[in-house]
Symmetry: C2
Subunit: 385 residues, 2 copies
């Protein structure tokens, strides 16, 4: 078992190392203590929910129309989660602590008005997982069958937010999320990262030098095609019903490996021979939250924009130079074919910082003057975890 | 918006009804208060996690072999959740409060040893939802493609627990969960109820007397076939890609209704004309947790058993009489064809109480003497919510 957290430094709560007590006495002491902690946690959660209601009341009386839309503030949520992680002394991991606070916030928010979210369905996809990870399980999340439907639902005001994958490989979507932004006025209000990685797994009996067959679900085999071509060009690739099934097969076969996630490795006691072997690591692990309003700075933000330029030598270099000069960190640059004849290239650019930061604002002006067109897609809190 | 909870009786936390403060000052006070509450919640969660680790240490030193299997105690979890609900004064609903405690327990338990759960897949099904509802999102839950595979995984010790639907309609499974118990020594360790109900929805423009077409996903239409035959024999049934799609269609059609869940009604602002219209209400809403060990009494338990009897007049009445005489509440009786020639009938019986209760124990002895065979499938905490 891996422990990716620090033990509580003081051990202050270990009050049962008393040799005079037997097991059931010790357990009794601990369970009474847990009950008393739960009592306090329950009261505090109630108190927090009451405060959230008060926040809603204040907003309603100040600006009824605005308040009716949603009480959800992405920048505030990100701040709360970051604080929860900063304060965390273990033994829970920061990820678990943030997850619990996400759910507490989700429950408090739903009390006033459950947040409505449209996601690229069907149910059970990674996009649904991303939606629930971001908004918590008290949100009302509904599947839609195409990315542009998700955009339309948000634009029409039928839902507060939409959740769409940035790329399309995992869920077999044809159109490209970013293309939708070119014709939409929606803003990016947040991002979600899911850790979905493929690994090459082996069992205790595997002869690593003699791997001649590799089991996995057909989709996972496809996602790792290039990697397999490079590393196991001669191994037979056998598609089975699921990655879990693939993992199970390894037990009796000394010349086989499986492609599956880390959960399967943990469940079946398998070893990870190679990790993150998917050909496009970024593909399905990032999702965008789309909404109608701009998000104020949270203190650790990202900005996305789309830039159109003519195809001239050195154009991209020229465009990106102001970022470099102002020490602004580009996190992603992606070119897409332009749909209009006038533009030859369209670039989607993500960078660290908020559009309202003085420095970023300067850079945006410079970049804008060098591009044929520039559209700000949104500034939003960086994925908290 | 419906509020199914009581407001906090005292309003003790409403400290911002001060006309001298403007909106942002009021919000500042409330948010500072929330931050301080979060600080306390975070510390208490850490303390609770530390206690959970101490519990694990005590168990390990008392009985290393037993402890290595799992630190999860179904009866203890049920008690903690019930207490959390009893203590709850609102404004959160009991269901939300219990959900939050489930996640806190799940995180604390995973710290020591994440619980491994096999469920009837694929991913995205109601059974997965049931597994995560019961074990929380820190559990490792893996899909399997058949109910007997789930049984085998648990029997082999590859996972701690399995989650299977009691019935098979929703997820198109062919074999019957209960049949598996006839050849397995696994115990029922818990039950999960999911509220999955179909409703007949209408919009503001619908003429209730003139409904001539009903939209839904084909599966939902099939689930409500008898109800539709009885109530709307002449309405055209139109299968669309999802229940959400069906709900959306209502906006422009005055003579149409849709079958969908309550989430769709909430999302699209539709009215529920008739609720719980599925033909077999019990079908897909109950799931069983299966494991290798018996669960001690939690204080509010259910017991399941399978009884074989010969086909004699009055046999079932004779069999059930002791339950009646001892005032034991039967919650479900279901007959199944016996697989062996010797038994003519097999009955699955669920009743309130734990096999170790004195009264129940007496009844079981009596019933056993009247039946050809009796097998106790398990006593387990009633579904908490």
């Amino acid at each position: 078992m891996h422990k990716h957290y620090d033990r509580h430094p003081t051990g202050a709560f270990s009050m049962v190392n008393d040799a005079s007590m037997n097991e059931s006495e010790q357990l009794k002491v601990l369970r009474d203590r847990i009950d008393s902690i739960d009592d306090q946690i329950g009261k505090l959660i109630s108190e927090r929910a009451q405060c959230a209601q008060d926040v809603a009341e204040v907003k309603k009386s100040a600006n009824p129309e605005e308040a009716a839309k949603s009480f959800y503030r992405p920048e505030r949520e990100a701040q709360v989660l970051r604080k929860a992680m900063e304060r965390n002394q273990g033994p829970l991991s920061n990820e678990e602590m943030a997850r619990l606070f996400r759910e507490i916030m989700s429950a408090c928010l739903a009390l006033e008005q459950p947040i409505k979210v449209a996601f690229l369905g069907p149910e059970g996809t990674f996009t649904q997982q991303a939606a629930l990870k971001h908004f918590g399980h008290s949100a009302i999340a509904m599947p839609f069958s195409a990315i542009d439907e998700v955009f339309r639902e948000v634009e029409a005001g039928a839902v507060n937010y939409g959740v769409v994958p940035v790329e399309n490989s995992t869920e077999g979507v044809v159109n490209h999320t970013l293309d939708n932004f070119m014709t939409s006025n929606l803003k990016i209000c947040g991002e979600v990262e899911l850790r979905i990685h493929q690994n090459l797994l082996i069992s205790d009996v595997t002869h690593v030098k003699n791997i001649s067959r590799i089991y996995s679900h057909s989709q996972s085999l496809a996602q790792c095609r290039k990697w397999l071509d490079a590393h196991y060009p001669n191994a037979e690739r056998i598609a089975v019903s699921s990655n879990a099934e693939a993992a199970k097969r390894l037990k009796g076969e000394w010349n086989a490996a499986a492609i599956a996630g880390s959960m399967a490795a943990e469940l079946y006691g398998l070893k990870v021979l190679a990790e993150k072997i998917e050909d496009e690591p970024d593909n399905s692990t990032r999702f965008l939250i789309i909404g109608t309003e701009s998000v104020p700075a949270s203190g650790d933000d990202k900005t996305s924009l789309v830039v159109a330029m003519r195809n001239e030598p050195g154009a991209l270099h020229n465009l990106l130079e102001p970022f470099h000069r102002h020490n602004i960190d580009l996190t992603r640059v992606e070119s897409r074919p332009a749909r209009t004849g006038a533009w030859t290239y369209v670039f989607f650019i993500d960078f660290s910082g908020h559009a309202q930061d003085a420095e970023v604002s300067k850079v945006l002006n410079e970049v804008s003057s060098r591009a044929a067109d520039l559209k700000l897609l949104g500034s939003y809190p960086k994925a908290v975890l």
